[in-house]
C-alpha cells in the first residue's frame, strides 16, 4: 500500500511531468489562460493518460514484451527462449496508435456531450495526441514496470502512474491558469506579454516544486 501512495506522490508532485520533466508544455502554455479551460484540459489529460497507460500496458505485455505471456511466444514459441520474441522496437509506433485512437474518442465524446469545452479547447485537444507527456507516461511505465514478477502489480502500478501523472498535470495547469488570469490585468511590457511571461512563471513554479525533491523514494 505504502509503495502505491509513494508512487502517486512521486509522479504527481516530485517528478511532475510539466515542472520536473518539462513534458507537455504545449497544452500547458496554450490552455492555461482561463481556469475553466485549464480544468477541462486537465481532466481530459487525466482520462487519456490513465486509459493510455492501461491499454498500452496490455499491448506491451501481451504482444511486444519478450516474456512468458507474450501471445506469440505462447502460440509459436515451443522450444525457443522467450527473448526471441522481442518486439519492443515497435513500442513507439504502437503506443502512438493507441494514444491517437483514445484522443479521437475523447474528441468525439466532448463534441457531442460538452460542445462548449470542445470548442474552447480547440486545436489543443488533438494536440494531446502528439503530446510528449502522454507518450512519456506510457514509456515510463514500460521502463519502470514493464518486466515484473507480478502481472497484477505491474498493471496496477502502471495505471496508477498514468493517473497520477494526469493529476499532477491538472494541479500545475490549474495553478498556472489562476496566475495567468490575474497577470492579464497588469501593466506588462509588450515584449513579455503572453507566453514569455508564462514561461518565466513556469520556471519559478518549477523552482518551487523542487521543494518536493526527496519525498518518497
Amino acid at each position: 500500500m505504502r509503495s502505491y501512495i509513494l508512487l502517486f506522490i512521486s509522479i504527481a508532485l516530485v517528478n511532475n511531468f510539466i515542472l520536473a520533466k518539462f513534458l507537455g508544455l504545449c497544452p500547458f502554455i496554450g490552455v492555461s489562460k482561463r481556469r475553466k479551460q485549464a480544468v477541462g484540459m486537465g481532466l481530459a489529460v487525466i482520462f487519456v493518460m490513465t486509459m493510455a497507460s492501461a491499454v498500452s500496458w496490455v499491448v506491451f505485455e501481451f504482444l511486444l514484451a519478450p516474456t512468458e505471456h507474450n501471445l506469440f511466444y505462447m502460440l509459436m514459441g515451443a522450444g525457443r527462449p522467450a527473448s526471441d520474441f522481442d518486439f519492443t522496437f515497435l513500442t513507439t509506433i504502437v503506443f502512438i496508435l493507441v494514444i491517437a485512437t483514445l484522443v479521437q474518442m475523447v474528441e468525439m465524446f466532448l463534441m457531442k456531450v460538452i460542445p462548449p469545452l470542445y470548442e474552447s479547447l480547440g486545436i489543443y485537444l488533438p494536440l494531446i495526441t502528439t503530446n510528449c507527456a502522454v507518450l512519456g507516461v506510457a514509456l515510463l511505465n514500460v521502463k519502470d514496470f514493464g518486466i515484473m514478477n507480478s502481472l497484477s502489480e505491474s498493471f496496477a502500478k502502471s495505471v496508477l502512474q498514468g493517473f497520477g501523472g494526469g493529476v499532477g498535470f491538472l494541479i500545475v495547469i490549474f495553478l498556472m491558469s489562476g496566475i495567468r488570469e490575474k497577470l492579464e490585468k497588469y501593466d506588462i511590457p509588450p515584449a513579455l506579454r503572453g507566453a514569455p511571461l508564462a514561461f518565466i512563471c513556469a520556471g519559478l513554479m518549477a523552482l518551487a516544486f523542487m521543494g518536493f525533491a526527496g519525498m518518497g523514494q
Partner: protein, 277 residues
C-alpha cells in the same frame, strides 16, 4: 517478420473499428454553413451586433435568430457574402457614420478637476469640469472605445475618421454626454451642439454653440429645422442637405460635411443593391 505485421495490422483494424463505432455513437450533425458564415465575417469580435463575437453571430444567422445584415462593420460587402451562403436576398440599410454633436474645443473649465482622467468618472463630479455641462469633456473615452481606429483625440478633442467608421456604436455607449449619433452618410448637414442653455448663457462660454437665434428655422424651405429648448434640432426625414441653414448660422454651429465626404470619396453614396437612396 510476421508477428510485427500481425501486431500492427491487428491493432490498426481493432482501433479502426473502435473509432468507427465511436463515431456512430457520438454522432453530431454540424451545419457547415456556420463555419462558412463565420469565415465571411470580419472576425474582429467587436460585439456591435450585440452577440458573443463573430462565432456567436454565425450561429445566430444560421439558426435564423439574426438577419444576414446584422454585421454592421462588415457593411454591404459582408451582408452580400452571408446572404449568398444562406441563399437569401440581402436588404442593406444605408451606411451610417458617427457624428459628434459638439464643437467646443475651446470651452474653459468651471473648476479644477483632480479625479480619474476618464470622461465617465469626470461626469460624476457635478456634471464634469467644463463650463458647458452638455459638451465634450475631452478625456477620450470615445477614442479608447473605438476598435476600428476611426476616432482620435486631436489636441484634446475627438475627430471622427469617416472613412474608417463602421457605425458599431461603441463611441455612442462610451460618451457620458451622449454626444455621438449614427446618421446616414447621405445626410450632410448637422447641428454640432447639444446645449439646452439660453443663447446668452451659451455665448458666454462657447463661440460655436447654438444660440437659438432661429435663423435656420426661418430660412429652411423644407420645414426640417426647429428650435426646441434653446437648441436647433433637425428632422432628417425632411432635410435635403441643401445647406441654406449652414450659410445663415451666425455661430457656425450648423456644419456641412459635403466637402470632406466628397474628398474622402464617401459621397455621393452608391447603393448597388436596394436601389433606395
Amino acid at each position: 517478420m510476421l508477428p510485427p505485421v500481425i501486431i500492427l495490422g491487428f491493432l490498426g483494424l481493432l482501433f479502426g473499428i473502435g473509432l468507427y463505432v465511436a463515431s456512430r455513437v457520438f454522432r453530431v450533425t454540424v451545419d457547415t454553413r456556420i463555419e462558412r458564415v463565420e469565415r465571411a465575417l470580419p472576425g474582429s469580435n467587436c460585439g456591435a451586433c450585440g452577440l458573443a463575437g463573430c462565432h456567436g453571430l454565425a450561429k445566430a444567422v444560421v439558426h435564423g435568430s439574426a438577419d444576414v445584415t446584422s454585421c454592421i462593420p462588415g457593411g454591404e460587402h459582408v451582408a452580400h457574402l452571408v446572404a449568398d451562403i444562406m441563399g437569401v436576398e440581402a436588404k442593406v440599410a444605408e451606411k451610417r457614420v458617427a457624428v459628434l454633436r459638439c464643437q467646443g474645443r475651446d470651452v474653459g473649465d468651471r473648476f479644477i478637476y483632480e479625479g480619474i482622467a476618464t470622461c465617465q468618472a469626470a461626469n460624476l463630479m457635478h456634471k464634469g469640469p467644463k463650463e458647458c455641462i452638455f459638451g465634450c469633456i475631452g478625456f477620450g473615452d470615445c477614442a479608447r472605445a473605438c476598435s476600428f481606429d476611426a476616432l482620435h483625440m486631436i489636441k484634446g478633442f475627438p475627430e471622427v475618421d469617416e472613412a474608417k467608421c463602421v457605425s458599431c456604436a461603441k463611441c455612442v455607449a462610451a460618451c457620458p454626454k451622449a454626444l455621438f449619433e449614427l446618421i446616414p452618410l447621405s445626410k450632410l448637414v448637422h447641428v454640432r451642439c447639444k446645449s439646452l442653455e439660453s443663447g446668452r448663457a451659451v455665448r458666454k462660454i462657447c463661440k460655436v454653440g447654438c444660440i437659438a437665434c432661429k435663423k435656420c428655422e426661418t430660412v429652411c424651405e423644407f420645414d426640417a429645422v426647429h428650435v426646441k429648448d434653446n437648441l436647433a434640432v433637425f428632422d432628417y426625414e425632411k432635410c435635403t442637405s441643401c445647406g441654406l441653414c449652414v450659410k445663415e448660422c451666425p455661430t457656425g454651429t450648423i456644419m456641412s460635411y459635403r466637402e470632406t465626404r466628397k474628398g474622402l470619396g464617401l459621397w455621393p453614396v452608391k447603393n448597388a443593391v436596394s436601389g433606395e437612396s
